[in-house]
């Protein structure tokens, strides 16, 4: 078997194990592990199916299955990173709103305490 495909297969299996291990240790949440598991499974499948890579590459004029595999790998990683950016943006917005609420509540509590002391 081609060495590159072998490395891709082993890396995919390693990634699946890493994600599963993190899931078991609760270091990653199930909903955020799905995209990594899907990406690793796809890479494992494609690296074991060079004929399929040739079929995918033919209409694009790419003859080398290695180039097709690497292109798909880059595309999948970009998609996963984009999803992570979306999640991060959402978390940041929520975090800012929460921090503002905490600051305002703390201020209002301080005001109430000061008023109570005056009485």
């Amino acid at each position: 078997m081609d060495r590159l495909f072998l490395v891709a297969s082993l890396s995919s299996v390693a990634l699946i194990f890493m994600v599963m291990y993190s899931l078991r240790r609760e270091h990653i949440r199930v909903e955020y592990s799905v995209s990594w598991l899907a990406a690793a499974s796809l890479m494992l499948f494609l690296s074991r199916w060079p004929t399929g890579l040739e079929l995918i590459g033919a209409p694009l004029g790419v003859r080398s299955p290695h180039a097709v595999l690497l292109s798909i790998l880059v595309g999948v990683l970009l998609l996963v990173l984009y999803r992570v950016s979306l999640l991060l943006s959402h978390l940041r917005d929520n975090n800012v709103a929460l921090a503002q609420k905490v600051a305002i509540l703390e201020y209002r509590i301080g005001e109430l305490a000061a008023n109570a002391d005056r009485r």
Binding site: V96, A99, Q100, V102, A103, I104, E106, Y107, G110, E111
Partner: protein
């Protein structure tokens, strides 16, 4: 200041301004008397909070560093909840002269506009403006002219007064980073008006500016993108009507 003219709040965003905050507070009191004042502290690591409190000013403390926009929006939210009619932002570094605050308030009350900008460029360029900063501001002036439908001389000024209508908008929607220019576009989307009044600017009382060439470049890209996104949102709503 709770006259019939409306309740006024001076909002002072601060981040590590221990060298200047006491002077800013005392200057505001000299000019405006017993005006309501809140220091919005963006999780300073120095003595900013304790100095402000020792001056008898209430502090709105962020639990962690949010950036200027996030910190300002918290202040606007609080001011809106507390029922203020006018809020004037005065930076904690002492670059703005509180003697110009009455001019901003007067314009807000008499003109009916929703926002007043204390402009450093209405009467020529201030002496503390670098060449690159002038070029950047010139570029933003040209960009904003067609978007806002009128010229703006100082779109990056942090010396700003808003009325309750703008306060309501900002308490819900305010840019988190580099808010000044995007805030103008946010107001424009709601068909609000702004005016500029000349103001004095001074060098920082203490500390050093954190602006670097790399940050300036990031600032320009970030603001351009923010303005574009705001316009696209606005146009999308217009097309739906």
């Amino acid at each position: 200041m709770t006259a019939a003219a409306g309740r006024v709040l001076i909002l002072i965003p601060a981040y590590n301004e221990e060298g200047a905050i006491a002077s800013v507070i005392s200057e505001v009191r000299q000019v405006l008397g017993a005006v309501d004042m809140i220091v919005a502290d963006d999780c300073s690591t120095d003595a900013t909070v304790s100095i402000a409190q020792s001056q008898g000013v209430r502090v709105l403390s962020m639990p962690h560093h949010l950036g200027l926009g996030g910190c300002m929006q918290a202040g606007y939210r609080l001011a809106f909840e507390l029922g203020y009619d006018f809020v004037v932002r005065l930076d904690g570094d002492g670059q703005m002269d509180p003697r110009d605050v009455p001019k901003l308030l007067e314009t807000l009350r008499t003109d009916g506009c929703q926002m007043v900008i204390g402009s450093r460029y209405l009467e020529g360029s201030p002496p503390y403006t670098s060449f690159s900063r002038s070029v950047g501001i010139g570029m933003f002036r040209m960009l904003l002219r067609p978007i806002l439908g009128k010229p703006v001389r100082d779109p990056t000024s942090g010396f700003v007064g808003v009325n309750r209508e703008a306060l309501q908008v900002f308490s819900r929607s305010f840019p988190l980073e580099y808010p000044e220019i995007e805030a103008l576009v946010v107001l424009r989307r709601r068909a609000f008006r702004f005016q500029e009044v000349p103001c004095r600017v001074r060098p920082r009382m203490a500390g050093t500016s954190t602006i670097t060439p790399a940050k300036s470049f990031y600032y320009i890209v970030h603001v351009l993108l923010g303005v574009l996104v705001n316009i696209l949102r606005f146009e999308r709503h217009r097309w739906r009507l």
